[in-house]
C-alpha cells in the first residue's frame, strides 16, 4: 500500500491540496506583474530566479472571488510547468494511504468540481485534493473587452 503526500493550503475556508510530486517549491515572491488581456484567473508573472512564472489566482480559477495578498499569502510553484498558484496560506504536508483517498462526492461546497481529483478525510475537516493538470488545462478564451475608440 503506497502512501501519498499532499501539499495543503487554504483558499478562504477551504482546505485544499495537490500531490506533492507536482510541486517544485513554495515561496513568497508576490511582486506580481499583471498581464493585461490575459484570462481573468492569471494574476500575472513573477521572476523566479531569472525565469518567468505565470501565477494563477487559484481563487478565481476555482470560481471564488480573487485572493487578496496578505502576510500569509504564498505561491505554490508547480514542477512540470512554470506556473504558480497564489493561495491564502500554506498548511502541512498530509500523508494519506490509498484507502483513505476517496473519490470526490457529487457536491463540494463552491469549488468547481471539474478540478477536484479526490478527497481525504482529516480529523476535523475534509481535504480536497485538486488536479494540477486539470487546473492547467487551458479552457475558455480570455475576456476581451472592446477598447473605447476615443483616445
Amino acid at each position: 500500500m503506497s502512501i501519498n503526500q499532499f501539499v495543503t493550503f487554504r483558499i478562504g475556508d477551504h482546505l485544499l491540496g495537490v500531490d506533492i510530486l507536482n510541486v517544485r517549491e513554495i515561496n513568497r515572491i508576490l511582486d506580481i506583474t499583471p498581464v493585461q488581456h490575459a484570462p481573468d484567473y492569471v494574476r500575472g508573472l513573477v521572476n523566479l530566479r531569472g525565469q518567468t512564472v505565470t501565477v494563477f489566482d487559484l481563487g478565481v480559477r476555482l470560481g471564488l472571488p480573487p485572493r487578496e495578498i496578505t502576510s500569509e499569502s504564498h505561491n505554490v510553484i508547480l514542477k512540470n510547468e512554470p506556473v504558480g498558484f497564489l493561495v491564502d496560506s500554506i498548511g502541512n504536508v498530509v500523508n494519506a494511504d490509498e484507502a483513505e483517498i476517496k473519490p470526490p462526492p457529487a457536491n463540494i461546497g463552491k469549488i468547481e468540481s471539474e478540478f477536484v481529483e479526490a478527497v481525504v478525510k482529516q480529523d476535523k475537516e475534509l481535504l480536497v485534493v485538486l488536479s494540477a493538470t486539470r487546473i492547467l488545462e487551458y479552457n475558455g478564451s480570455p475576456k476581451r473587452r472592446t477598447v473605447p475608440k476615443n483616445t
Binding site: Q36, P39, L45, N47, T52, P82, N150, T151
Partner: protein
Amino acid sequence: MNYAGELVLGRNQLRQELETLAYKNPKLGIVMQNVDSVTSEIQQDIMQMRLQPVGNLLNKLSRVVRNLSRQLSKESALFIEGKEVELDKAILEGLSDPLTHLIRNCLDHGIEMPDERKKAGKPTSGAIHVSAFHEGGQVNIVVTDDGRGIDPDELIQKAIKSGIIDTERAKRMTESEKINLILLPGLSTAEKITDISGRGVGMDVVKTNIEKLGGNLEIESTAGKGTTVKIRLPLTLAIIPSLIVGVAGLRFAIPQVSVKELVCIRAGEASAKIEAIGDAVVLRLRESLLPLVRMADILDLERTFVHHETAKQMPEQRERLADRRQNRPDSGYGTHSSGPQQPHQRSNETDRRQNRHGDINVAVLRVGINLFGLIVDELFNNEEIVVKPLSKYVKESKCFAGATIMSDGRVAMIVDATGIAEFSQLSFAEISAEECRRHKEETRRPKTVIGRQPSVLIFNNAYNEHFALPLDSISRLEKIYSKDVHKMGTRIYMNYRGNGLPLIYLEDILPVCAFPNDIEEFFVIIPKTNDLHAGIVVSRIFDTVEVNVAIQKDNGTHPGISGSAFMQEHLIQFIDPAGMLQLIKEELGVA
C-alpha cells in the same frame, strides 16, 4: 545562449546595486565598468556567432524542389529572396523541417501537372517563391506558390466527413477560417496517400514546430491561383535594446527597433495638435497625420498623469485628448477639490497644462510601413532586455511580444507594436486618405490666392432660389429656431449676445420669392459692417464655393443684386453686399 542572456541580466542588476554603494568605495565603479564592457563584448560575440544568414537554409530547399519535381514529373522553379537576413542559429535549426514540409506541400498539392497548368492558362513550370525579410523587429518568411490553391469547400467537406466540425459550424465560417482548417490535425486534401504527403499529419505539425520557436503562421489561398504561407518569427532568443515606458504605475518595454521617435506634446499645444477624424484621434506631426492610441485604454488601465505639485499619479479626467478643458467647465478638474471653484482658481488650473508635467508623451511606433503614436505616462531610459517568451496561459494577450526581467528584478511586459495596432483597429487607410486630401488642398490653396477668386456662401430664401454672398462680407452665421424669434410690431427680433437683433427677410429688400413659413430651424447671416445692427434670415445654407465662373451682369437687375451665374447646376443670384446694406438701412429706417 540563455546563459549569455542571464549574464547580461546579472550585470544589469549588479550595476544597479553597485550604484548605491559606489560613493563608499570608488574602486567599485572601475571594477564595474570593466565587468560591464567585457559582458557587452561577450554578448555581442555570442550573438554574432549565433546569427547566421537564412540563405544557408533556403539554399537547401533548391535541392528538395529539384528532386521532388523529378519524382512527381512536375516542372517547377524556386525563387529565393532575402538570403542575407540573419536569424539565430537555434531558430534556423528549428525552421529546417517546417520549411521543407511547406515546400513539399507546394509541390505535391499546390503545383499542378504541366498539362493541367497549360489548360488553366498558366506557364507549365510552377513557381515557388520563398522570401525572408525583417518587419517590425520580427523576421518574416513567406512561401508562395502559383498552384491550384486550397479549395475551402473541399476542405469543409473533408472536415465534416472526419468529424472535426459539424455542418452548422461550417456554414458560419469565413473563407479564411475555412482555409485555416488545414492547420488542424488529421486533415489532408490529398486524394491518395503518397510517400511525399497526404498522411494527414501535415500542416498541424508545421504549425506546432513554428509555435515552438515562438512564431506564428498564417495561410492565405485563392483557389486556382495559389497559396501563401506567412511565418512570423518573433524576437526570442535575443537580447534587444528597448525603451522602458511607464503606464499607470507599471513599466513596459518597447523594442527599440519599433520605436521611430519620441514626441512630447506640450500641454498647452495638445488641443491645437490633436484632432479627431471619424473614430480615430490623430496627431499632426510635420505635415502628416499620426493615429494616436492611449496605452492605458488598450490595456484597460487607469489613465493617469503625474501631478506637478504632488508628483503623484492622478487619474486623468479628460475623456478624449481632442477635448478642450474649457468645453467641460463642470467636469471638476479633480485635483484641487477645496470648495466651489472660483473662476480665477480655474485659470490656475489651466496653468498646469502649460507645465511640463501636463505634457503628453508619445512614442511613435513603426508597424510595417505605417506609423502610429502610443501615448504613455512616463518615458524612462533604454535598457537591454532578455526576451522571455510568453507562457501559453497568457499567449492570448496579443499586445505583448514577451516578458522580461528588469534590473530591479521585476517582470515587465514587452510591447508588440503590431499587436497593439491590430488590437486598436487603427484605420491607417482612412487616415492616409485624409492626409492625401489635405495635401491636395494645400497645393490647391496657393493657386486660389493668385487667381483672387473670392469664396461665396450660397444659401436659399425660398428653397428654389439660390443666392450668393461673398464670405468676407459675413461676420457670423447663427443657427436659430423659430421659437426663438420674437415679434414686435411688424418687425422680428432674435436674442443676439443679450441684445435684440432686428431680422430682415430677403423679400423685404429684394424682389424675390417669400421665405417658407413652415420652417422650424433656419439661419441668420450677420453681415460685416460697422454701423448696422441687423441680421438676414435665410432658410438653408447650401454650400461654400469659390467663384470660378464669370458673373453675368444685366442692367435690369435690382440695386442689391450684382449679377447672376450658373454654378453647381443652379442659377445663383449674387448679392452686392454694399447695395444690400443700403437697402437694409432704408428698410429699417436708419439711413
